[in-house]
């Protein structure tokens, strides 16, 4: 009998969603412990001393940090349908694109949404080019993973779909339209309506309220990301 699984997370966090959806797809029961990110618990600070961020997966006395590391851990530690492709080359491709999102797209994504002027213009151009590249990976497929939700779908969910539509509304910026990104939009609908995925997607209205309330904080935090 496997030791209990807990996730330290925050309802508004797309990265927490990544960890939750991985567990649900593998059929692993877990307890979600909601963190107040403005007042981080001792448990969080103890188990993620380096980053002090959510999500953290606790499996018995093991703590796994970093959302994509958690997804791979869940894939390997538990039985159930594979989240990563089985073929090494396909695995490398999935990892490449997940890194592309988390490393390459992240800064321009935030700047495009939350800054103004020349910095924003340049970032919008960059993120749109990057999203077009990402879109090639889901063209002609139901999911990035093929017929089933997989690692890259889980990675992409933090950047496209449920969270992005909320960010766009709060920021008053449109990055993804049906006309420009038909495959990404189709994917977003498939993903957010997937029967397992939707169990751990936070209610849109609640996300909207949360990010509307946090807008000033986000804008000033993103200002500090602006390249010098």
């Amino acid at each position: 009998m496997s030791p209990p699984v807990k996730i330290l997370g925050a309802f508004s966090s797309a990265f927490t969603h990544r960890a939750e959806v991985a567990l649900r797809l593998k059929g692993v029961p877990y307890e979600l412990i909601q963190e107040d990110l403005s007042n981080k618990s001792e448990l969080l600070q103890k188990h993620n001393p380096i980053h002090k961020k959510v999500p953290v997966l606790l499996h018995g006395d093991r703590a796994v940090c970093e959302s994509l590391v958690i997804v791979e851990y869940v894939d390997e530690a538990f039985d159930g349908p594979p989240l990563l492709p089985v073929d090494p080359f396909d695995r490398a491709t999935a990892r490449f694109w997940a890194r592309f999102l988390d490393d390459k797209c992240s800064t321009s994504y935030w700047l495009a949404l939350w800054t103004e002027g020349e910095v924003q213009k340049g970032s919008v151009k960059e993120i749109k080019e990057n999203l077009a590249l990402l879109e090639t990976q889901v063209k002609g497929k139901r999911f990035f993973g093929g017929d089933t939700v997989g690692y890259l779908d889980i990675a992409a969910s933090a950047f496209v779909g449920h969270w992005l539509s909320v960010f766009e509304e709060v920021a008053g910026v449109t990055l993804v339209t049906d006309a420009e990104y038909p495959d990404l939009c189709r994917w977003a609908k498939e993903y957010t309506s997937h029967e397992t995925v939707k169990q751990c997607l936070p209610e849109r209205e609640k996300l909207l309220a949360h990010f509307t309330a946090s807008k000033d904080f986000i804008v000033s935090a993103v200002k500090s990301m602006t390249p010098k």
Partner: protein, 234 residues
């Protein structure tokens, strides 16, 4: 062993620490491959078509299929050639997660600011980037303690994934010390890492693959000179 490798080609540039990572992994696994030196000022059609997203080295082409991004390449080598040589990632899922955590840390917290040290224009920005880099090295000392469990490498008794990712950077770590006077891995502050670096350099793979530090220093100076000349003429 060599006959079963399939067609392996590595596109690289001799000075790149990221290419060094790929070479280290290939050497450790005992794999033979064709190496193609790219002129990054005049990139080959093969490079551009194999890595259209980043147009960067290393690219590992296996039976005609390209794998890009050094950390992805190293994992691929471990996955695709699981029977060849030692495993770079441990067998246990939790130990794998710990290795992946520290690999991500090396990329996000060490390599990223360190790259900025060479790219930013102001002394202030450079100092800040260097401080972030040094802070990451401090944290990595703890990472080494956690991963090694008192043994020689992040991978334990033998070289592993994190060792390869960090090991590829060693010539540049030493070159940085000569170029800027900043010891990134200072035996007084991070003794475990300093000892690790010495042991790493003793490995057959390191001796075969790591670039000569003098050559890297000259290369870095030439790049800096070209950048300064370009800035002056603008």
């Amino acid at each position: 062993m060599a006959g079963g490798d399939g067609d392996l080609k590595l596109l690289g540039m001799w000075a790149s620490p990221f290419v060094t990572r790929a070479k280290l992994a290939l050497h450790i696994k005992g794999l033979s491959y064709e190496y193609v030196e790219e002129d990054l000022g005049n990139k080959s059609e093969l490079l551009l078509s194999s890595n259209p997203v980043h147009k960067a080295v290393p690219v590992l082409i296996h039976n005609g299929k390209p794998v890009c991004e050094s950390a992805v390449v190293v994992q691929y080598i471990d996955d695709a050639f699981a029977g060849a040589g030692p495993s770079l990632l441990p067998a246990d899922p939790y130990e794998r997660a710990v290795a992946r955590f520290w690999a991500a840390y090396v990329e996000d917290k060490l390599v990223t600011p360190w790259g900025r040290v060479f790219r930013v224009k102001t002394d202030e920005a450079r100092a800040e980037a260097m401080n972030q880099t040094i802070a990451a090295v401090d944290a990595l000392e703890g990472g080494l303690r956690e991963c090694s469990g008192g043994k020689n490498f992040f991978g334990g008794d033998s070289v592993g994934y994190v060792d390869v990712l960090l090991g590829g950077l060693v010539p540049w770590i030493k070159a940085t010390a000569r170029l800027s006077g900043a010891e990134l891995i200072d035996a007084a502050k991070t003794p475990l890492l300093a000892a690790w670096m010495e042991r790493f350099c003793e490995l057959d793979a390191a001796k075969a693959v790591l670039q000569d530090v003098d050559a890297v220093v000259e290369y870095a100076k030439a790049v800096q000179a070209r950048a300064a000349a370009a800035a002056a003429s603008n």
